[in-house]
C-alpha cells in the first residue's frame, strides 16, 4: 500500500494543467490537447496496475 501513488497522480495532474495553460497561451492548442490526453493515459496505466492487484486479491480470496 503506497500513499506515494496518489501524490504522483496529483503531481502529474497539476503538471499537465500547467503545461496545458502554457501551450494554450503560446497558441499551440492541438499540442496542449495531446499533452493532456497523454497525461491521462499515463495516469490510467498507473491505476490499471492497482486494479489488477485488486481483482487478483478478490479472485484468490473468494475462489471466483
Amino acid at each position: 500500500m503506497d500513499v506515494n501513488l496518489i501524490f504522483q497522480i496529483a503531481a502529474i495532474g497539476i503538471t499537465v494543467a500547467v503545461i496545458y495553460h502554457l501551450l494554450v497561451r503560446a497558441g499551440r492548442e492541438d499540442q496542449a490537447m495531446l499533452i493532456s490526453i497523454m497525461g491521462l493515459i499515463v495516469v490510467m496505466m498507473m491505476v490499471i496496475t492497482q486494479i489488477k492487484v485488486l481483482f487478483d486479491t478478490v479472485k484468490t480470496l473468494f475462489d471466483l
Binding site: 500500500m1 503506497d2 500513499v3 501513488l5 496518489i6 501524490f7 497522480i9 496529483a10 502529474i12 495532474g13 497539476i14 499537465v16 494543467a17 493532456s36 497525461g39 491521462l40 495516469v43 490510467m44 498507473m46 491505476v47 492497482q50 486494479i51 492487484v53 485488486l54 481483482f55 486479491t57 478478490v58 480470496l61 473468494f62 475462489d63 471466483l64
Partner: protein, 127 residues
C-alpha cells in the same frame, strides 16, 4: 492491517482529489479510483481470517462445503460489483453502474443455481 493508516489514506485521497478537481476534473476521478482500489486492496486480505472462521464453523455445523463456497462466491461478486458500480457513478456514468449491478445480480443467481436445484429436488422428493 493498520486501521489508522487506512482511515488516513481515505482522507488524504479525498483531499488530493478535491485539490486537483478545480484544475483537471478527470485527474480527480482517477485519484478517487486509485484511492478506492488501494483501500480495498489493504482491507481484503484481513477478510480471509473471517472467511476461515466461517468455513470452520460450517464444517463443525455439518453444512456441506459446496454450499458455503456458493455463498462466499456470491459475496465476492457483490463486493466487486459494489466497487465497480460506485466507481462508475463517481465518474458520472450512472447508466453503466446500473447495468453492472444488473449483471452482478444475474451472476449471483447463476452461481446459486446448484443450491436452488438441490432445494427443489429435496422438496420434490419430499412431496
Amino acid at each position: 492491517m493498520n486501521v489508522g493508516i487506512i482511515f488516513a489514506l481515505g482522507i488524504i485521497a479525498s483531499l488530493m482529489a478535491i485539490t486537483v478537481s478545480c484544475i483537471r476534473p478527470e485527474f480527480s476521478k482517477m485519484i478517487g479510483l486509485c484511492g478506492s482500489c488501494m483501500l480495498a486492496i489493504s482491507i481484503l486480505p484481513s477478510l480471509s481470517k473471517i472467511l476461515d472462521l466461517i468455513k470452520s464453523s460450517a464444517d463443525k455445523g455439518g453444512i456441506n462445503e459446496s454450499y458455503i463456497t456458493i455463498v462466499l462466491k456470491c459475496a465476492g461478486i457483490a463486493c466487486v460489483c459494489a466497487i465497480c458500480a460506485d466507481t462508475c457513478r463517481d465518474m458520472g456514468q450512472s447508466a453503466i453502474a446500473t447495468k453492472l449491478e444488473f449483471a452482478s445480480r444475474i451472476a449471483i443467481i447463476i452461481t446459486a443455481i446448484p443450491a436452488i436445484t438441490a432445494l427443489l429436488t429435496l422438496i420434490e422428493n419430499t412431496i
